[in-house]
Assembly symmetry: C2
């Protein structure tokens, strides 16, 4: 490697090593100080470059791509507040374990706190939210320095996908010239022939990562507890991106079969959807995967052994039912993380879920030794069936016209999604409605959300970033506040050439607050919490040249199907009154309880 | 003070003390965890509440208000990534010394890193960018704790306006109930009668701040150097918000008179505009305030004594001319800050500029003892006059039609602004064009920009926040990238009932990159740097129900005047080709040089 000047050498070397290490995509926001990185990325044939104009949206787009693939995506910005705009997505990447490589250009160190333009303190800008922070040395064709740069590239990529995966931040100081302008003798010819200059075939450092294999003792304890349980329960929480590589849901089902356990499968786990799920196509299979629990888990007998994996479940009903169960409760987590905020779990098993379930299959007896409570699975089955019946009655055209509710639309999104499809679900109400109303299906649905920090920021960009990494049809289910919050993200439809069907549940404000006691205090409820805004999103669609259709709830299914068949990005907007929708949601829950539990 | 529960007690007590301490406004984004704060602010009769839906825009709005008033503005958000969305504005507040009180709601400490929803590590979230960080204790009707809360409120406000002013971050954990729901015995009746419960008349703690008075020795040195200088020069950089309280530009002019020094007045200093400026209304006054320096400062003799105050000047020409002068160079800064990135200054004088210039007046002899170079002021006068003549010729209708350039519009914005007016100027090209083309005027123009970190984020919100704090007509001059970046900020026009005339210089991308050498490297120039987006901002105006007018450069003056006379917010958009505009800018500069310096 040689270069017209040292800044260019630095950018090219870093980008070359990242490509050699397997980096496939980068999101770049324009800026001057970052020129050496931008020029090198743009010139590299093996890295896809996505250009964004708002750094906050850029970061969420990168997050979405990394979330969908489980592979690192890089981010580049210039110095100053640009880097701070990455912060929300970096926090989400930390909490949700998403591999993100953040490259922030910086001014040379002597300019910090000197009044130099666009110079801020970027050292450890994201605090403890990153797995690794490196202040890169200043560019110089010094052999040891350049070997350190090549090595840092390899280590940074490896750390984004280590255990747990997450964001890594390289702060990159550059001085002028930033452009590939020739500077005589800045990079001596002989440098290009050194090991530092040439690098190696492939990455300068090959990295490999370990599998989190559980201890035999832990697996035997776990197997013993499950085998002797009367009311065993498996809880699949939201999956980590790396589950894509290691967790076969069929293995989880097999373990459940062995011990007669129901699996409560969060829509964000890899268990609720997929060919391992019993559905209309394979009715003879025993039901193992339950999805309606949010409506009834607190109405059932308490489990005595619970095995949890993934993040904390979306369903508060489940979290509280497990809390109140006085059960032996295992947490299986590859990073030994504690993702259970009721603090009732009894065992923390450090293991990737995939390894744990495979080892359980090897360890558990083929036929069950213990004696499951005969009513245990029957109770789940009855309530699960009842839940979907009530849901489907409420979705009939006549009912839906009389009593519209947002969950009906979310149910349709999942029921009519193509196989395969990727569905991105916004926080606040859409994810709760997906949890309650999206029925398990045998289709390959990859369901994603920003559930690390559960913000409503960056939702559109994250979904479009996921779309950039898959050939699946992509559906985004979002609310009006999230859609407003990341309106800038829509620019990626054109700039990054990605498409999605956007299902907009528009209740003109923060509908979720109707679930909370603050609803009773107005003022300030309407003005400070529900915050109706009256925005007509047709105009936003016009700005970004998207098709926009506003439909009634009963018309939704037809519009949704049409959109899925069409090229391009369509917004299908369905308006709701938040309060009516919530009252209907509560009423359906009461109905479920009343029909199975007449005394309540 | 009593309350239905401890969270409500906490919120009310904190807000009461902030109001007693003089806080006048708060920007709130909706959320659940922040309910005790939101409810208390919304109920307080003496604090204006501005509701925002995007925390990033909320923070910049608060920044704008604080920038305009020099007084603290508070910010409230819920836990999670919401708080990270404040980060860009917090960094700008740090660098630009703007008083901002950031209140982030948090989950109780035991939920950190437990998988609890919307729970992230908010401890020292903004790193060293804040003047003070406090993790508030958990609410409890304990007398000492509540006295500490009242005391913290007073100290936090004081620290936002201490030297230097800046952001303060209070992280506020709350547990349920968050709403003002009665919890029997949670706050005992007798607590309400304690000192902690009742507080005091007025603030619990009265705080007073010191003036940064310079040492006599420093003033004598400074006066001596100025009095004996041959070519003395005063450089007024961008002002701190607290200059509003202490720096009388007439005093600066008087000092300049005593020593025969020109004042190079940045448009963001308080010196370029105001009744102290000689203009058509008082032609007999000696010219002291120069505004065209960016076009010629490097063509003049070198100064031998330079006195700088305020932040580093916008003009690179000035910064480099001073760097190259080998002058004795004084920096006057209230915080003893070093805001001079060429590192050629010789003396750092810790003093508020206001104090320093008043003391200088007392110390300098009435009549000048030294002997100013006779050509010194004449050279400035000649170049200054020439600059405005060239500018005005280029602004003639015929010239403007043949050779349009953005600076002509910026010139008109300042020339035709009402007296008084507040003008907010975006970063990137608008501030550079204001620096070069906005002629000093005798009108009371308050000119603001986000020049601390010079980002193009949050521009619209900062301008509208400034508008919320003044009866002045407000004009925002912005570019298309900044307008896109903070499109969400436009929601404040309706929600916060503020108005501005928005002058949009639309060159479809990052025109500033035409000033940089990267222009020569295409690709990647167009795709990664200039980044044309093709957005038609009429649709954005429709979304936010604003009037929108697209005009030719020669039609601008008439549209601008009409907008200033009308109620409501208008967007006056003028389209430019970035490259043409830059070539014209360069040509005008060459013309200035050629006409005075025929040999160059």
């Amino acid at each position: 490697m040689t270069a017209p000047n040292r800044a260019t050498l630095w950018g090219r070397t870093l980008v070359d090593e990242l490509a050699a290490g397997g980096l496939e995509a980068v999101c770049i926001a324009p800026g001057s100080r970052s020129t050496p990185l931008t020029v090198a990325f743009a010139a590299h044939p093996e890295i896809a470059v996505h250009s964004h104009l708002d750094e906050r949206s850029a970061a969420f787009f990168a997050l979405g791509r990394a979330r969908r693939t489980g592979e690192p995506t890089a981010l580049v910005c210039t110095s100053g507040t640009a880097a701070a705009n990455f912060h929300p997505a970096v926090i989400e990447a930390d909490r949700a374990r998403v591999p993100l490589l953040v490259l922030t250009a910086d001014r040379p160190p002597e300019l910090r706190d000197s009044g130099a333009n666009q110079t801020v303190d970027q050292v450890k800008l994201y605090g403890d939210a990153v797995r690794w922070y490196v202040d890169l040395p200043e560019p110089e064709p010094d052999e040891r320095k350049v070997r350190s740069l090549r090595t840092t590239a390899a280590r940074a990529l490896a750390k984004t996908v280590a255990v747990p995966p997450g964001p890594v931040h390289l702060n990159c100081p550059f001085r002028k010239p930033l452009e590939p302008t020739p500077v005589p003798d800045d990079v001596p010819d002989e440098f290009g022939e050194s090991l530092a200059g040439t690098g190696r075939d492939g990455p300068f450092v090959e990295t490999s990562s370990a599998t989190q294999t559980p201890s035999s003792a832990a697996i035997e304890t776990l197997a013993g507890a499950l085998a002797s349980a009367t009311r065993p329960l498996l809880v699949a929480g939201p999956g980590d991106p790396t589950d894509l590589r290691g967790l076969d849901p069929a293995t989880v089902v097999e373990v459940a079969d062995r011990v007669d356990a129901p699996i409560l499968a969060d829509p964000l786990s890899s268990v609720r959807f997929g060919p391992h799920v019993e559905d209309d196509a394979n009715r003879d299979r025993r039901r193992r995967v339950y999805g309606g629990y949010d409506a009834y888990a607190n109405d059932l007998p308490a489990p005595d052994v619970v095995v949890r994996f993934g993040a904390s479940p979306t369903s508060k009903t489940v979290r509280h039912a497990v809390r109140d169960a006085d059960a032996r409760q295992f947490l299986v987590d590859p990073a030994g993380g504690w993702r259970e905020a009721t603090f009732t779990a009894t065992d923390l098993v450090e293991s990737s879920p995939g390894e744990a379930f495979e080892r359980l299959l090897e360890t558990l007896p083929e036929t069950r030794a213990g004696s499951t409570d005969g009513d245990w699975l029957a109770a789940f089955d009855e309530r699960e069936s009842r839940h979907w019946t009530i849901r489907d009655e409420a979705r009939s055209p006549a009912e839906l016209e009389a009593e519209p509710f947002e969950g009906a639309i979310v149910a349709s999104v999942f029921e009519h999604a193509p196989d395969p499809a990727t569905i991105f679900v916004s926080n606040s109400m859409p994810i709760r409605d997906a949890d309650r109303f999206a029925r398990p299906r045998g289709a390959e649905l990859t369901v994603l959300a920003n559930r690390g920090a559960s913000g409503i920021d960056g939702i559109t960009s994250t979904a479009l970033g996921a779309a950039s990494a898959t050939d699946d049809p992509v559906v985004l289910v979002t609310g009006d506040l999230a859609f407003y919050h990341d309106a800038n993200g829509l620019l990626a439809v054109d700039r990054c050439d990605v498409d999605a069907t956007i299902v907009l549940l528009d209740n003109d404000g923060g509908g979720i607050f109707h679930m909370l006691p603050i609803e009773e205090f107005d003022p300030p409820f309407t003005e400070q919490f529900e915050t109706p805004h009256g925005l007509e999103f047709e105009h936003l669609a016009d700005l970004y040249d998207l098709e926009f259709e506003r439909v009634e709830p009963r018309e939704f299914d037809a519009s949704y199907r049409r959109s899925l068949e069409r090229e391009g990005t369509q917004v299908v907007s369905v308006s709701f009154d938040a309060e009516t929708s919530h009252r209907r949601r509560e009423e359906l829950e009461r109905r479920g309880r009343a029909e199975t539990n007449p005394d309540r």
